[in-house]
Symmetry: C2
Subunit: 435 residues, 2 copies
C-alpha cells in the first residue's frame, strides 16, 4: 500500500491508509496504547486496542524514535490532534531504536538547556518546536527569492574564498589556499555590485563568515545573508521601498505556506505598513535630546538605548514596528557609501529598526570611478587589492544600492527567540564547531 503523509490523514476518514515515520510517543492507559507517529510534515495518533496490534513494537523492544510503518483505518476523533486517528493497526518496525534519546522529544516543550540542546542538535532539531523554527528559516529564504524573482532580479552565487578581506581585515577567517593565504568572504558586497554591471538587479542567498569574537545571543560566526543590489536607482529611498516589499513578501510567504508552524509556535507576526516611516539620523538625535534629555547630537552612531527610544516613537506615532533611520554619518559607514549630495557629512544610507533593534543595513553606493579612488585614498586603503572591483566602476556603473539581511537574526526578531543560535540547525560560534 502506498504511504501517505500524516498531514493528509484527516482527508481519508473511513479509509485504510499506510503511514510511516518516527515513534514520537507511546502512552498506555488501561490496556490501550496511544502511539504518536511523526513524519517529515506532522504527527498522527494511532490507537492499539489489542496486544496483537502492539506486538511488533513490544517484541522488537523498539522505543521512541524507532522508524515504523503503520497501516490502519482513519477514524474521526475530535479529541485527537488533527481531528483524526488510526485504528485497527498493523505495525511494522523498520529501524528499531532500543535506547531513549539524549533529550526527550515527546514533551510539548524542549526543557533542556541551550548547550545540551545544541550539542545534540541532530536529535533536538527533530522536536516539533525546533522543526517549526527551522522550517520557517526555509520560508524566509523562499519569501526573499519570490519577490525579487518577480521583479527581474537574477540570482547569483559569488565566491566564498577570496583574496582579500571585504570590509576590514579585523573579523576575517584566514585559510590556506594551496600554500597562499586566502580569506572567507565576510559578505558578497563587492561581487554583487560588480554583477549590477551584468544584470542590473541581483540577489544572493548564501553563507557569510565573520570571525568576530563576540559571544552574545545575537552573533553567529557563519550565517545566511540575504543580499540584494540593484542599479538605476534614484537614491537610497528606492532601495528602502524594495526592502519594504521584501519584508512583506517574507511575511506573506510565512502566512501562506507555514501557518501550521506559526500556530505551533504561537507567534504574532508583525504587519509591514504600506509606507515604513523614516527619520533622518540628525533629526533622530535632536528628537532624543528634546524628548529624553540625553544629548547624543554629534555622536557618530545610535546606541541600543537610542534605537529603543526611536522604536517606541515609531510605535506611538505611526503604530509601526518598523522604522527607517536614514543618513548615518559618512565616517561610520564603509568607504563605498554614497554621500548625501546636500550634506556630504551624512550618507545616502539607512538602517531598518524593528521594534527598536537594527534589522537591516543598506544604502546607495558610489558609482563613479573617481569617487572610489578618492574614497580609498581618504580611508588610507591601498588600491591594489581592490583593482578587480574598481574595474567595474572604471568601465561604467549606474547609480546603485542594496541591502543585506541576516537571515537568522531576522527570524530571531520575528519570532522573539531569545538566542540567534536557536534559529539555525547547526550554529557556529566562537566555541562551537560541532555538530
Amino acid at each position: 500500500m502506498e504511504r501517505i503523509r500524516t498531514t493528509a490523514i484527516p482527508t481519508h476518514t473511513g479509509e485504510q491508509v499506510r503511514i510511516a515515520g518516527w515513534l514520537h510517543s507511546w502512552r498506555q492507559m488501561g490496556g490501550i496504547h496511544f502511539l504518536v507517529i511523526r513524519d517529515g510534515w506532522g504527527t498522527i495518533q494511532a490507537v492499539a486496542e489489542t496486544s496483537e496490534e502492539i506486538a511488533p513494537l513490544v517484541e522488537s523492544g523498539a522505543t521512541f524514535e524507532s522508524i515504523i510503518a503503520v497501516e490502519g483505518r482513519v477514524v474521526k476523533e475530535v479529541q485527537a490532534p488533527g481531528g483524526a486517528e488510526l485504528h485497527d493497526l498493523h505495525i511494522e518496525v523498520i529501524t528499531p531504536v532500543r535506547e531513549a534519546p539524549p533529550v526527550p522529544l515527546n514533551k510539548r516543550k524542549l526543557t533542556t538547556g541551550l548547550s545540551t540542546l545544541l550539542d545534540h542538535a541532530p536529535i533536538t532539531d527533530r522536536h516539533p518546536s525546533r522543526r517549526a523554527v527551522l522550517r520557517l528559516a526555509s520560508g524566509v529564504m523562499s519569501g526573499f527569492r519570490r519577490v525579487l524573482d518577480g521583479r527581474g532580479f537574477t540570482e547569483i552565487a559569488t565566491p566564498k574564498i577570496v583574496a582579500a578581506a571585504t570590509e576590514s581585515g579585523a573579523n576575517v577567517f584566514q585559510l590556506d589556499y594551496f600554500g597562499r593565504p586566502a580569506y572567507l568572504a565576510q559578505s558578497p558586497q563587492f561581487y554583487k555590485q560588480i554583477m549590477v554591471g551584468v544584470f542590473e538587479r541581483v540577489y544572493e542567498v548564501g553563507p557569510v563568515f565573520r570571525a568576530e569574537e563576540h559571544d552574545t545571543a545575537r552573533h553567529l560566526n557563519e550565517y545566511v545573508s540575504l543580499d540584494m543590489e540593484m542599479g538605476f536607482i534614484e537614491n537610497h529611498f528606492t532601495i528602502m521601498a524594495v526592502l519594504r516589499d521584501v519584508l512583506a513578501s517574507i511575511l506573506d510567504t510565512l502566512h501562506e505556506q507555514y501557518e501550521a508552524e506559526l500556530e505551533l509556535l504561537r507567534v504574532a507576526m508583525p504587519i509591514v505598513p504600506e509606507q515604513i516611516p523614516h527619520v533622518h539620523f540628525a533629526e533622530a538625535q535632536e528628537w532624543i535630546y528634546r524628548t529624553h534629555g540625553v544629548d547624543v547630537r554629534g555622536e557618530p552612531d545610535l546606541s541600543p538605548q537610542d534605537e529603543r527610544w526611536l522604536g517606541q516613537w515609531a510605535q506611538q506615532e505611526y503604530g509601526s514596528d518598523f522604522l527607517y533611520v536614514t543618513g548615518y554619518p559618512m565616517r561610520k559607514r564603509p568607504f563605498y557609501t554614497y554621500p548625501d549630495p546636500e550634506r556630504p557629512e551624512y550618507s545616502n544610507s539607512f538602517d531598518l529598526l524593528f521594534r527598536g533593534t537594527e534589522l537591516v543595513t543598506g544604502g546607495q553606493r558610489l558609482h563613479r570611478y573617481e569617487d572610489y579612488v578618492a574614497a580609498l585614498e581618504k580611508a588610507h586603503l591601498p588600491m591594489e587589492p581592490f583593482a578587480y572591483y574598481l574595474e567595474a566602476f572604471r568601465y561604467g556603473m549606474p547609480p546603485h544600492g542594496g541591502f543585506a539581511i541576516g537571515s537568522e537574526r531576522l527570524l530571531m526578531q520575528l519570532l522573539g527567540v531569545p538566542n540567534v543560535r536557536l534559529t539555525t540547525a547547526f550554529p557556529r560560534d566562537i566555541m562551537r564547531l560541532v555538530p
Copy 2:
C-alpha cells in the same frame, strides 16, 4: 518619464519611451549614428539622425560602456534586432566612460583568450554571450528548487565551516578558527542526512570546497552543489526516479524562462526520457568486453573510455543522452554507501552518465547505527570525529538516499562549453583567487 526595459520596447510601437543602460556599441554611417543600448535584460538600437541628438555623447567624450538614458519614439524596423528601434533621441549621459574597456564587448563573440577573459571577469561577464550563460546558471538553481519544493522538500542551509573533513582528509581546505584548525565543507553530506531525520526530504543549493590540485577543464575548487536527500525510499531506484524529474524540471525551467538565452547561445538542449535507461556496473563491464574486446571486468571503476562506449550504446539502443550505471563496487564508494543486499560487494548506488560523461553521483545510504559502526571500523576510520553524525542513526533513521549535482559541470555539459570556468562568474582554481 518612467524608464522601461529594452525587452519591452517592441510592445510600445509609436510611443515615446525612456530606456537606460550601457552604451554597448556606436557605429556611424553617412552622418547617421547607430547606438545599441544594453540594459540588464537585453539590447535595443537607437538611431540618431542629427548632430543635435548625438551631441551629449560627443560633448562629454563618452564612449562604450558609458551609462546613458535615452528617450525616443519606438519605430518598427524589421532589420533591427528585436524588430524595433528608437528614433528622435534625447540622450542623457549618466556616467561617462572615456576609455575603451580592456576587452571589447560589442563583438558578437568574445574573442579573447580564457585567461584574459577571466582576469577581466567584472567586464567580460557583461558580454551578452557570457551573460546568457550566467543567467542560465541561475535557471539551473531555480529549476532544481522548483521541482523539489513541489514535492514537500525543505530547503536547508548547512555549515560550511566544519570540525573534520567529510569524505576524506585529502582534498580539504584548512582554516584558522579562533586558534583551532577547522575545515571548509567538501559537501553537505553528513548534515543533509541528519536533516532527513528532521524533515525527511531536504535539499540545499550552496557552495562546496575541494582542495584538489587538478588543473583541468572540468575542475573548480569552489562550486555550487545541488544536493538532495530523502527518507523512506525503497532503494537507489527511488532516488534515480527523482533525479530524472529534477533534470526534466531544470530543462523545462530553462525552456520556459530562458529561451532568449538559449537562442543567443544556439544550444540544442537534450531531452530527458520518461524512463532513463539503466545498466548494472557488472553487466556494463561484460558488455564492454563482449562488444569492444577490452576486458575491464574486475576493475573497481569505469574509465572515461568505458563511459564513452556506454554513452554511445545508450544513444544507439535507447536514443537517450542519459544512462544510469548502477551497483558500483562497494570498495570505490564512501563508507556510508548501502550495499546491494543480494550481492554485497556491489552497492545500491549509481552514476548518471550524460553523453558518455559522469554527471551525477548518488545512491542509498546506510541507515542502521550498527552498520555505521561496522563500516567505520572496516574503513579504519575513528568513531570520535563522526560522533555527532552517528547520533542521528543511533536514534532512528529510515532507509534514505540522495544525490549531488555539480551545478557548473551540469551547465557545462548541457551547453557544450569547453571549460567549466566559463559557466561561473568568478571561478576559483588552483591558480585563481581573483577576481
